[in-house]
C-alpha cells in the first residue's frame, strides 16, 4: 500500500470551556491520499470542524497523532491552506488581488514575478478578473468565497482544508460553487479535505466520505462516493447512498424503534 498524504491515528480532541472539558472527537482514524476529495461528514457538534482545526495545526490532539507526509503536525503552516466558512477570513484592507498574493508574499514560496502571475491565474480561474482590484466589502458572499479559494489554491498547498465553505451561501450560489470546485479539481487534481453537515453536499463533492457519529465524534463509516456529482442527483445510486448515510447517522427508526 502506498503511504497516505495525511494520516490520522486514534485522534482524540479535547478543548476547555470556562467550566467544562469537552471531548470533541474520540479515537478517530482516517487517511487521505494524493488527489482525494475527502469529505468529513457528521451532524452539527460532532467535532468535525475541530478535527479540521487539528489538521490545520490550530490545536493538538490529547491522544493519537496526525501526520502529513510522515511529519507530525505541530503548528499551522502554509502547506495546509484553510478555507473557512466565515467571510471574515479575507483581509478587509486588501483588494481581492492583494488578498490572493498575500500568502505567497509572506511565505516567499514563489519568486515575486511568479507570484504575480499565479495570483492573476488563480483569480481568472475563479472568474473574478474584473473584480481583482475591488475591496472585499464590495464583493458578494459567493465572490468572497471565490477569493478565499483562489488565495488558498494559488499557494499550491499539499492539502486544501475547507471548513463548511459554502454553508453561509444561498442555495443557488452554493450549487454553482460546488460545480466550480469540482471543475477546478478536474483541471488541477489537488487534494482537498472538506467538512460539511450536508449529506447531499458530501456525496456531490466527495470522492470519499468519512461519516462521524454525533458527539463525541467517532468514525461510523468510510464510504466511496467517486463518480457521483450534480448530474447524478436524481439517480437511484445517489438516493441509495444518501439513505445509507442517513441511516448510519440517525439510525433506522423503523427497524430499531429509537435508540438503545
Amino acid at each position: 500500500m502506498t503511504s497516505a498524504l495525511l494520516d490520522a491515528k486514534g485522534v482524540t480532541l479535547q478543548y476547555k470551556t470556562p467550566r467544562h472539558l469537552v471531548t470533541a472527537t474520540y479515537r478517530v482514524d482516517f487517511s487521505v491520499h494524493q488527489g482525494d476529495r475527502y469529505v468529513i461528514l457528521g451532524p452539527s457538534g460532532c467535532g468535525k470542524s475541530t478535527l479540521l482545526k487539528a489538521v490545520g495545526g490550530f490545536m493538538s490532539p490529547a491522544e493519537g497523532s496526525i501526520r502529513i507526509r510522515e511529519r507530525e503536525i505541530r503548528s499551522p503552516g502554509p502547506d495546509r491552506m484553510m478555507v473557512f466558512q466565515e467571510f471574515e477570513q479575507l483581509m478587509p484592507w486588501k483588494t481581492a488581488y492583494q488578498n490572493v498574493i498575500f500568502p505567497m508574499k509572506v511565505t516567499r514560496k514563489f519568486a515575486s514575478s511568479e507570484a504575480t502571475e499565479r495570483a492573476d491565474t488563480a483569480i481568472a480561474k475563479v472568474g473574478l478578473t474584473e473584480f481583482r482590484d475591488i475591496y472585499p466589502h464590495m464583493l458578494s458572499g459567493g465572490m468572497k468565497m471565490r477569493v478565499a479559494i483562489a488565495r488558498a489554491m494559488a499557494l499550491e498547498p499539499d492539502i486544501l482544508l475547507m471548513d463548511e465553505p459554502f454553508a453561509a451561501l444561498d442555495a443557488l450560489t452554493r450549487r454553482t460553487m460546488q460545480q466550480e470546485l469540482l471543475s477546478l479539481w478536474d483541471q488541477l487534481r489537488f487534494t482537498v479535505l472538506f467538512v460539511t453537515h450536508s449529506i447531499e453536499e458530501a456525496i456531490i463533492i466527495g470522492s470519499r466520505i468519512l461519516v462521524l457519529s454525533p458527539h463525541p465524534g467517532r468514525v461510523r463509516a468510510e464510504l466511496d462516493a467517486s463518480g457521483l456529482d450534480h448530474n447524478s442527483l436524481g439517480k437511484p445510486e445517489f438516493g441509495a447512498l444518501s439513505q445509507r448515510i442517513h441511516a448510519l447517522l440517525f439510525g433506522n427508526a423503523h427497524a430499531q424503534g429509537g435508540r438503545t
Binding site: P78, E88, T107
Partner: protein
C-alpha cells in the same frame, strides 16, 4: 380543511423579457447642485457660518467687548497678532511641545500594548495601570511634574504623555481583542507569528479602534497642554497659546483671549477634518470597516 380558505386557482405565466433600452441611461452623474447639497465640507461650512452669525449678532446686542467681543473684533485681533508674529510664535511653541509629548505617548502605548498582546501578564499589567491612571486628570499631575522636572518643556511633555498613553493603549488593546478569530487563524495559517503577525494582521484589522484612540489621544494632549500652560505660564521667554490667553486675561483684553481660543479651535478643526479625515478616507472608509 375549510374550502373557503384555499386560494383561488390562477393561470401560470411566462414572458419574453421587456426591452430595457428605452429607459435610457441606467446610471447618470449627479448634477452640480445635487453634489454640492450632499457635500460634507459644504455642510460643515454652513454650520460654521451659522454659528458665527449667531455669535456676531449676540455680541453686538450685548455691546460689551470686555465680556463678549464680537466675531469681527476677535478676527481683527487674531489678524493683528498673526501679522506681528506673536500668535504664530506662541502656536509654534505649543505645537512643538505637543508633537514631542504625543510622539512619546504613542511610543509608550506601542510598548505597553505589545506587552499586553504578547502575554496574559502583560494584559493584566496594562489593564490595571489603565484603570488606575486613565481617570487621573493630567493637570493633577502637574504639581508633581514641576517638582520632578522643573519649570519648562519636560514637565509639559510628562503630563501630555500621561494623557495620551492610556487612551491610546486602551483603544488599541480593545481593537486587538475584537479582531475576528477567523482572520487571526487565516494569518496564522500562512505561518505568521510574533511581530509580523501583529504588524500584518492585528494592526490593520484593529485600525478603526487604533485610529479612534489616536484621535482621543490627540484631543486629550491638546487640552492638557493648553490647560497646563495656563496654570504655570511661561518658561524661559517663549510661552505657548495657554500663556498667550493667560497674559491677555491679566490685561482684561478679552478680544485677545478670544483670539487665543479661536486658534485652539482652528487647530483642532484642522487636525480633525484635514489630517484624520485624510487618514480615514485612505484606510478604514476605503476598506469598508467604517462608514
Amino acid at each position: 380543511m375549510n374550502p373557503q380558505q384555499t386560494p383561488p386557482h390562477r393561470p401560470e405565466l411566462e414572458r419574453e423579457l421587456a426591452e430595457t433600452a428605452v429607459i435610457g441611461d441606467v446610471e447618470r452623474p449627479l448634477t452640480l447642485h445635487e453634489r454640492i447639497a450632499s457635500n460634507d465640507a459644504v455642510q460643515r461650512l454652513t454650520i460654521l457660518v451659522a454659528l458665527i452669525v449667531v455669535w456676531e449678532i449676540y455680541a453686538r446686542w450685548l455691546n460689551n467687548s470686555l465680556l463678549f467681543p464680537t466675531f469681527s473684533e476677535t478676527v481683527r485681533t487674531f489678524g493683528k497678532d498673526i501679522a506681528n508674529g506673536v500668535l504664530i510664535d506662541r502656536t509654534f511653541t505649543s505645537l512643538r511641545t505637543l508633537a514631542i509629548g504625543y510622539a512619546f505617548g504613542l511610543a509608550f502605548a506601542a510598548v505597553f500594548t505589545t506587552m499586553a498582546v504578547a502575554s496574559g501578564v502583560g494584559t493584566r499589567i496594562l489593564s490595571t495601570l489603565t484603570a488606575m491612571f486613565n481617570p487621573l486628570p493630567a493637570i493633577a499631575l502637574l504639581p508633581l511634574a514641576l517638582i520632578w522636572f522643573g519649570l519648562g518643556t519636560p514637565s509639559l511633555v510628562f503630563v501630555i504623555i500621561h494623557s495620551v498613553l492610556w487612551a491610546v493603549a486602551l483603544n488599541t488593546l480593545s481593537g486587538f481583542r475584537s479582531v475576528p478569530e477567523t482572520l487571526r487563524m487565516s494569518g496564522r495559517n500562512v505561518g505568521l507569528t510574533g511581530a509580523r503577525y501583529v504588524g500584518l494582521i492585528l494592526i490593520p484589522a484593529a485600525f478603526p479602534s487604533i485610529l479612534a484612540g489616536l484621535k482621543i489621544g490627540w484631543a486629550f494632549a491638546w487640552r492638557t497642554l493648553v490647560a497646563a500652560e495656563l496654570v504655570f505660564g511661561v518658561s524661559a521667554r517663549s510661552g505657548g497659546i495657554g500663556w498667550y490667553i493667560f497674559e491677555a486675561r491679566n490685561d482684561l483684553d478679552t478680544a485677545t483671549v478670544f483670539s487665543g481660543l479661536l486658534t485652539v479651535i482652528l487647530i483642532g478643526l484642522a487636525v480633525e477634518s484635514v489630517i484624520f479625515r485624510a487618514i480615514e478616507a485612505r484606510t478604514v472608509t476605503l476598506w469598508g470597516m467604517q462608514r
